[in-house]
Symmetry: C2
Subunit: 358 residues, 2 copies
């Protein structure tokens, strides 16, 4: 499948995994497993089927050097830095145009650097089937089986079955971004909905046609940028045009009203690692149910996540706890309340202690 390209989105800068996730080093650049950073893992899991020349990374301008250091195997031009974050629609549109210039038949898998996927071989099989479906002109989304009525995700309603391959492919009836709890509960109960994973596979001409149709202003702006790409004007045009592009997600700006969208429901051990507890859930545990990394001594500790970047963390007699030491800050919170790290982040801002977020 020599037309298949991966574009990995690596621009996030969240604080849900504070104190380790920082503005200077958000989660996609961190190693939570001892096997590599999330970005390196995202690259490695497609590397058996897509060579480095066909892997592109989209990230913030400030992270371009970090990406090149973590993936030196990539051609330098394959790392694209956005001057400012404008949502996923401009980033994906730019990548689609750049790929189209290289290969008009390019099929583009939009992937993410800040998610964990446990079943990597199955994921690759899904990707290859999705690329085959995308080759027919459909816009393919990967849907995740919802494990709870989470109101933080987008939901995809399935319609008629279009193909019955190894992984069945369905027409998409409707996208619903972040429903209220009642709706989310109905969606999960019906068994007819998937979470939107944020992973898409499509032909570049197909997605660009939708962008041109639904977001013509974005399309025109991207055209300007791509015309200057590779010339002496590249930086100048990018920096002048990019900040004027609409700030929009691909989901809301394009997918919700796109014409030919299909979904492949997959079970690939996916997690967007939205909290320390989510990370604990998805990583392998030791015999006590702990996820441990770094300079740590535990005695009678169970079902806990304990990380230390530098100083010694010693814990005795605790259960279901998160303890994360980043070298300048340590967080202690029960797993069940690890979402509440945001209250600490807000308090740090309120007190003007933003150094602990940088």
């Amino acid at each position: 499948m020599s037309d298949l390209y991966a574009t990995i989105l690596a621009g996030g800068s969240g604080t849900r995994l504070w104190p380790r996730s920082r503005k200077s080093s958000p989660k996609q650049f961190l190693d939570f497993t001892g096997t590599g950073t999330m970005l390196q893992e995202a690259f490695s899991r497609v590397s058996p089927i897509i060579p480095p020349e066909r892997v592109w990374i989209l990230t913030g301008e400030r992270y371009v050097e970090t990406v090149r250091e973590q993936l030196p195997v990539l051609p330098a031009e394959n790392v694209v830095g956005e001057p400012v974050g404008r949502g996923t629609a401009p980033a994906i549109g730019l990548a689609a145009m750049l790929l189209q210039r290289k290969n008009p038949n390019a099929i583009m898998a939009v992937l993410t650097a800040d998610h964990i996927i446990t079943y990597k071989e199955r994921f690759r099989e899904v990707l290859l089937e999705a690329a085959w479906v995308a080759g027919k002109g459909h816009l393919v989304t990967l849907g995740i089986k919802p494990s709870r009525p989470d109101t933080g995700y987008g939901y995809i309603e399935r319609g008629e079955k279009l193909y019955d391959q190894r992984f069945p492919v369905y027409r998409v009836v409707r996208f619903t971004e972040k429903p209220n709890l009642e709706m989310a509960e109905q969606f999960v109960a019906s068994g007819n909905y998937s979470w939107n994973s944020g992973m898409f596979i499509w032909r570049v001409d197909a997605i660009l046609a939708e962008i041109e149709r639904q977001m013509s202003e974005l399309f025109d702006g991207l055209k300007q940028i791509v015309e200057a790409w590779g010339t002496d004007e590249q930086g100048k045009v990018l920096h002048s045009v990019w900040p004027t592009l609409p700030n929009e997600t691909i989901d809301f700006g394009v997918m919700e009203h796109a014409k030919d969208v299909v979904v492949i429901p997959v079970e690939i051990g996916w997690s967007d690692v939205g909290s320390w507890n989510a990370l604990w859930e998805v990583l392998p545990h030791d015999e006590s149910g702990n996820v441990v990394q770094g300079n740590v001594i535990l005695h009678d500790v169970g079902n806990s996540l304990v990380y230390s970047d530098k100083q010694l963390v010693a814990a005795v007699g605790i259960r279901d706890m998160v303890i994360v030491d980043s070298g300048d800050a340590v967080l202690v919170v029960p797993r069940s309340r690890s979402q509440e790290v945001k209250t600490i982040v807000n308090e740090l801002k309120r007190r003007g202690l933003e150094d602990y977020l940088l």
Copy 2:
């Protein structure tokens, strides 16, 4: 009461308050309250009734400089460094002889630098009454009302009431060091026992007579040392004789079989701070029941002790917990299990990580 001297024992080097308590800086030299180190507090609480010239500190040789830095008001000669720890009997005996040389009528209050006393004014009133009793030749011990059948303390059985002053004074029937649990329960139930606080008040001639009678070898060794004290030979004799002295506590070596021992039961808010939980119990709490010191942000945290010497400690949604960050190590343990810090200390020794204890 110009014959009253305080000798404060400040030689301990325990690890029960690890990671803050270290060999280089044991708990008596630490500030847990923001108002001063435990040694400074021990000095301050007698300073209204005893001037610095009559306060002596007995400590390990390696801590002499620390003591002088923390109490610069003391005459340098009043800080006595023991070449090695040989128990309290040699230390107290040496102090008694040195005081006797200065003032044959000296009354000596043996106090401790690593205990907390909450009701300081009452403590001073006790001391003055105890000095009056000691002036009659009795060996006075201060007894603590037992709050639980703790097997880690010595117990003092009361006999007949000898004086009925502001604080009644009883003859001592018996000392029992560290009884088993059954005995301890009987002692507490009887209401007739006090814990041995390790604080004593006596005339120097009275205690030296008992030392000479019961520990003649110690008495002779101390004589040698004191004869050389203040001469060019002081250091040489101290270092050659001290290590040969019997390694013994004053309780076992002298008090258990002394002839004229009395006890004053006192309620002075005493704690030997044997664990982080003991410290939490005795220090003032904020409105959430927390004891907090240093660089700490809490959200919905209650009945916990949270200390940080340097880096930020952030905690959310926890109860009854101890979190102590010393700069190179952080401890997390429920208050109810804070005694188990010893398992961590042992594990550090086992792994050869003794730097975390130094």
